[in-house]
Amino acid sequence: MNPRLREYWGRFLATFKRRSADRDEELRFHLEMAEQAAVRRGAPAREARLRAGGLSQASDALDDQRMIGWLRDFLRDTRHSVRLLARSPVFAAAAVFSLALGIGANTAIFSVVNAVLLRPLAYKDSDRLVTILHRSNFPVAPANYLDWRTHSHSFERMGAAEWWQPNLVGMDPPEHLFGLHLTESLLPLLGVDPLIGRWFLPGEDQAGSEREVVLSYGLWQRRFHGDRGIFGSPLTLDGESYTIVGVMPPEFKFAPFWDTRAELWAPLAFGERVHDRAANSLRVFARLAPGVSVTQARAEIAAITARLDQQYPGTNREVTVTPLKEKVVGNVELPLLVLMAAVGLVLLIACANVAHMLLARAANRHKEMALRTALGAGRARVVRQFLAESLFLGGTGCVAGFLLALWGTRALIALSPADLPRLDTVRIDLRVVLFTVGITVLTGLACGLAPALQISASNLAGALKEGERGSSERLGRNRIRSVLVASEFALAMMLLIGAVLMIRSFGALQSIDPGFDPRNVLSMIVSVASTQEAEPARREIFYRQVIDRIRTLPGVRAASGINHLPLDGDLWVIPFTIEGRPKPLPGALPNAVYRIAMPGYFEAMRLPLLRGRGIQPSDDMRAPGVVVINERAARRYWPGENPIGKRIAFGPNWFTIVGIVKDSKEGDWAGDIASAVYLAALQNRSFLGEQKFPESSYITLVVRTAGDPAAMAAAVQNAVRSFDRNLPISDVVTMDQVIATKNAQPRFEMLVLGIFAAIALLLAAVGIFGIMSYSVSRRTHEIGIRLSLGADRGSVLRMVVSQGMSLALGGSIAGLAGSLALSHVMQGLLYGVRAFDPLTFAAVTAALCLVALLSSGIPAMRATRIDPTTALRAE
């Protein structure tokens, strides 16, 4: 070890040890020897002593070398504080509890913010990755992607991904898997190497040679028990044989947004689709070339797409380049930052509470401090002594808070919506620990500084003369405490308003009418791909028969099927043309949410038919094509006309509008209603497997039950499996669960903000109770005089309560101003309620005043019971 380090380490250790008597003995020996030498020389012993220096001086110098000075002082102060705190355990417990709550909540929220927002995505140099989409959200057609890739220079690499949900058969049990087709350039672009094996070789994305597959670590463990011998062995997906060539590391996830459940990846071959500019199915990812900024890449993509749009009108509009991380966490950034700010306010309130408790104690210790100063302690020394006390409180609060955070983080994860991105990466890491230590030190300083400065600034000599207690409270000190309590109220007010707004917003979300009746609906996806039911001839019969069999189950009221479940399933928006109208540009075609429904769907979902008829069993291949549209589509595309009997075309196929149904929520829960069309399933070639593209080899069953739909899940699955044991069934959910998932994020925000607001209110109430009790106890004498001079008890009560209320009111006004200032931030989180909601503001103000009234009422009652004679004698 380096000698200097060794010296410092030794001094550090020695700081915690008592000095041994050896040291003094050594010095005494030195003096003795010096005296003997002097006597031998015939000089007086006094001179020898003078030359050797004083014993205590040498001893001090030795101590300075032996230990670390500031640390020794700090430890001494801390020991002193601990002794003092041990004498008032209630105060110490209250202070530590407040701080633990504040620090713990901050640590818990920060650990989530850290994982979700701060840590980079788990790809190499992930800040260089971008995604290229239509209107930052929608997929892209193959020919457009290929053109961008060819013409751009801003990107080192560009790759694309496409939805892929194969059925794993030939293994027991069969399973419906979530996967992605990726172009060969995607893994090199992400910079993550496979754990075992390899990624696709160049050329594997050529049509015909795309039969290789890479597994996620999770899938490899789950289905193959981590067997390394599976490489090169075949895997049957959708009836085709694939070869396993690699396994990705456990932490690898792709895609980070949209299809986040993907567990296996296969090469993406465009084949004939290289010229396709209509079927938007790709998500494009790219790595910026060295030295190129996002702005430059945006400018280049804008230029390329403008050129392409001239060449192929309507195909290249509103193409956006978004940094990948922004795309992944963009939706949760605001809510998390609001929660972070809210929890910061809670800590501020806790600090204010502890600070004013310390101030009250400091007042009692005025005399002790005066004495210390009189005995020569410098001002800095007195301040340090106070800071040691508050830092000790903060440190203890930190340890308790950290334990609280370990539990709180787990609770937060349990509470938070499952689709919160990157939730699985939440953990206490070094950054979280540093954050906690940092806020603890700041907290300690914030709590201790006010009393320390005040004590050291006030006239301490005066305090000694004045005696045990001033006849009336010193005004200045009281003012600081009043400001602290008023600030607590202001902060609590802001939190409460935020929480109440969230509750009202959540209420508004809950009361949204989805159009259909979501109660008692069970749904599941049955996939027929690569089973015996996949054959077009058998598929239609199977779909009809499975629904018929489910209808006969006891407890089932109605059953039907659809391609994608509202709110939960995929959402295809498909352009169409209207008969007899001039053909617009490809990009400006009318479009609608594309649903393919079995007969009886509207009845099963209780989606009311407004005009015309629904989809009937007779609407099959032999009958002319029919379509039912929703109100929104009717109003948008046939304003002032009766759409029934009109014809629309999807591609080359024409359909006659036969009915109009009520609008229903299909994609977003809180968003606008989109136009929707419902085609008859028994007339749909791709749904029945007669046509390969768009691929559609599954049906989403919807079952309306008499009782609890979840209880029927097993019976319905058995009914399906009675046709074929190999049918993979997935996504078994009730409609209520789907809606709860949709509202999980606002519910999470409401709950967490509500909990914080409750804590804040509690702390503020404790604060006002504390200061009023203290004030009453200090003014016992004064109140005694008032009472003996004839003041009635009612006026004493009013005096004390009005003092408390004025603090609360002052704080509330500041809090209202603060809430108004922040209302535009809050607005981003609210649905159906304005951030400046007079009702909420008024209700919260009233509630806070009530709390203030109660918490100053108890000390006030005590004041009226003061006995004038004892109070006066007490002086």
């Binding site: 050896d22 040291r23 050594e26 220096g53 110098a61 032996r66």
Partner: protein, 114 residues
């Protein structure tokens, strides 16, 4: 603060002096070190305890010397310091450095002008 300045100037050389003394004389107690230094300097160096003992402690903390209680000739208990191998290495290095500096300084101050 004149004392403090002197102490600062002394610190580096004090270490060297103590190490050299222990190296030539073998184990000594604190008073003997002070006495020896006073002798060698003809009374010019008079270390008080407040300078000497922190210096010894610092060398001990850095591992250059070690201390042990022992008996004097008069059978008195005293703390004896002895140089360690690491201290000897440090002494050699600093002696060389001192010589180098001294030759540079003397060249600059006395030979340059001639």
């Amino acid at each position: 603060m004149a004392n403090r300045d002197k102490a600062d100037v002394l610190q580096g050389t004090l270490d060297l002096m103590i190490l050299q003394t222990l190296s030539t004389m073998g184990p000594l107690h604190g008073y003997a070190v002070a006495e020896r230094l006073e002798q060698v300097s003809n009374g010019a160096l008079q270390l008080n305890m407040g300078t000497l003992y922190p210096g010894l402690l610092r060398l001990e903390q850095r591992g250059s010397i070690r201390a042990q209680w022992n008996r004097t000739e008069n059978n008195r208990r005293a703390r004896y310091y002895s140089i360690t191998p690491a201290g000897r290495r440090r002494l050699d290095a600093e002696k060389a450095e001192w010589l180098r500096m001294a030759s540079i300084m003397s060249a600059l101050l006395f030979e340059g002008g001639q």
